[in-house]
Amino acid sequence: MIQLDHVFKVYPSQIAALSDVSLEISSGEFTFIAGPSGSGKTTLLRILFGAERPTSGEVTVNSMRITENHFRKIYQLRRTMGFVFQDFKLLKDRTVGENIAFALRVTGHPQKDIQPRVSEVLQWVGLQEREKDSVLTLSAGEQQRVAIARALVHTPPLLLADEPTGNLDAQMAADVMKIFAALHRHGTTIVFATNDTELTKHYPYRAIYLENGRKVEK
């Protein structure tokens, strides 16, 4: 599902965010990308997401090569994946339901299909009772669950998560991890970036470690 072949990413300031990274992630796999801050995790996820291009090397995601030619059609790639951020990125002036419906509305889903799908994904993350509530009334853990629900709304085969538990306390983080584990059981491929190396030890999933933009063995 994901293939990186000798990928380099060098920013104009000559900082090498990724150096010669090669990896392969199969369909249905749960993979941690672990490493300290500045190790290149976010850059790697942004490349997979099509938000950045590699300086050199080949990247294939969902059978699409992330090259300059495809950059204009990156939105098609994004509909095949969900992205969960550490800071949730929710619209604060809207309700839980509206935040999720927004993702469907702007991607051209017919109005009649939106409401049933919103209810379905909210049930998945255990927030069906909070649909009409403003996101501002939710706890950080609940907000992250709304963000996960929004990422799931297109039923993507791939879910990218950039430190989704970084802003949560232990209990909330455990609740969120349960949702990711359940999604994995249902066949979703998950790439989960974290700087918490302890977390990777608690779960039976593969972990790829990065340090200073390079892949390292641990």
Binding site: F49, A51, R72, T107, V153
Partner: protein, 310 residues
């Protein structure tokens, strides 16, 4: 495909209205700024239009008078009249006989017409009043017609108020040049103001746009509602400007200023000059222009804020 395009467009229009409803304050601010900008432009157009109509009235008054020598036989007068009509640049020619000239003078003198007592019409010369074609109502054009008239041996003298015509031609030239330069500068300024204002509207929705990118909205589905908003804001702002300008014209310019605050001399001077509002065609052009400004402004603003990224 056609069905898909129709759905896309109707959805984009719906989203444009929903976006506007949800962002009333920045939208109203933008409409207000577009309105003020277009009011400045429409006011300029109104002044330019009225000045042009005044110049046109003066322009229509430009004519050439050719006085005939004494004793030109009637048959020859007819021949000269025919030849003048054939001259390039001549629109109409009217023959004024000595008795016509006398009646004209009597009319002009009014109650003092007794001054003309004892004067025989025969003392006055016959003449031709020559009206020129539009393109010839300028210094060069008149000189060309006058040159040809002077070739007629039956014509004694040609009068056309040379100094006045030259000054008038200069005024028209400077005015038209100023109109284009001022109008052009104003348009560039307006475009800059409108696109910056629309950037404010778009930047106030930066988070929303970022999420659209994240969830995989197509560039067209992100941009088109903003373009539609730009069109609507341009139309509403310009519509308000036109309504306000009409109000100013009707209430202030037409009645208050022109009929209350003018001195009697000025009133008399302006009496023959109508103060006009912009013609419907110009109003429609300004409204369409406002919509194009809105669209162009959104386009420029979107190039900065709607660039497809993470």
């Amino acid at each position: 495909m056609r069905e898909g395009a129709r759905f896309f467009l109707s959805d984009a229009i719906l989203r444009a209205f929903q976006n506007m409803r949800g962002n009333l304050f920045p939208i109203l601010t933008t409409i207000g700024i577009i309105g003020i900008s277009m009011l400045i432009f429409s006011t300029f157009s109104l002044f330019a239009f009225n000045l042009t109509s005044i110049l046109k009235i003066w322009e229509d008054k430009i004519e050439v008078i050719a006085y005939l020598k004494k004793g030109v036989p009637a048959g020859e007068v007819e021949n000269v009249l025919k030849r003048i009509r054939q001259l390039e640049g001549v629109e109409a020619v009217k023959y004024i006989s000595p008795s016509d000239a006398m009646s004209f003078m009597e009319k002009k003198l009014g109650s003092q017409r007794n001054l003309l007592e004892g004067i025989q019409p025969g003392v006055l010369p016959s003449s031709f009043e020559i009206q020129l074609k539009k393109d010839y109502r300028n210094s060069l054009g008149i000189k060309e017609v006058v040159f040809h008239l002077k070739q007629f041996r039956q014509i004694e003298e040609v009068q056309y108020g040379q100094e006045w015509v030259e000054t008038f031609s200069g005024i028209v030239h400077v005015f038209r040049l100023t109109q284009w330069i001022m109008g052009g500068l104003l348009l560039i300024g307006l475009m800059f103001i409108i696109s910056n204002t629309l950037q404010l509207t778009i930047s106030s929705r930066k988070e929303e746009i970022e999420i659209m990118h994240i969830v995989g909205a197509s560039p067209a589905s992100i941009q088109v509602p903003f373009y539609i908003e730009g069109l609507i804001q341009g139309l509403l702002g310009t519509g308000l400007a036109i309504v306000f300008l009409f109000f100013l014209y009707y209430k202030v310019l037409l009645y208050k200023v022109f009929f209350l605050y003018l001195t009697p001399v000025m009133k008399e001077w302006f009496a023959g000059i109508p103060v006009l509002f912009l013609p419907l065609k110009t109003v429609v052009i300004i409204l369409i222009g406002g919509m194009i400004f809105g669209l162009f402004g959104s386009f420029v603003a979107s190039m900065r804020f709607l660039k497809y990224s993470g």
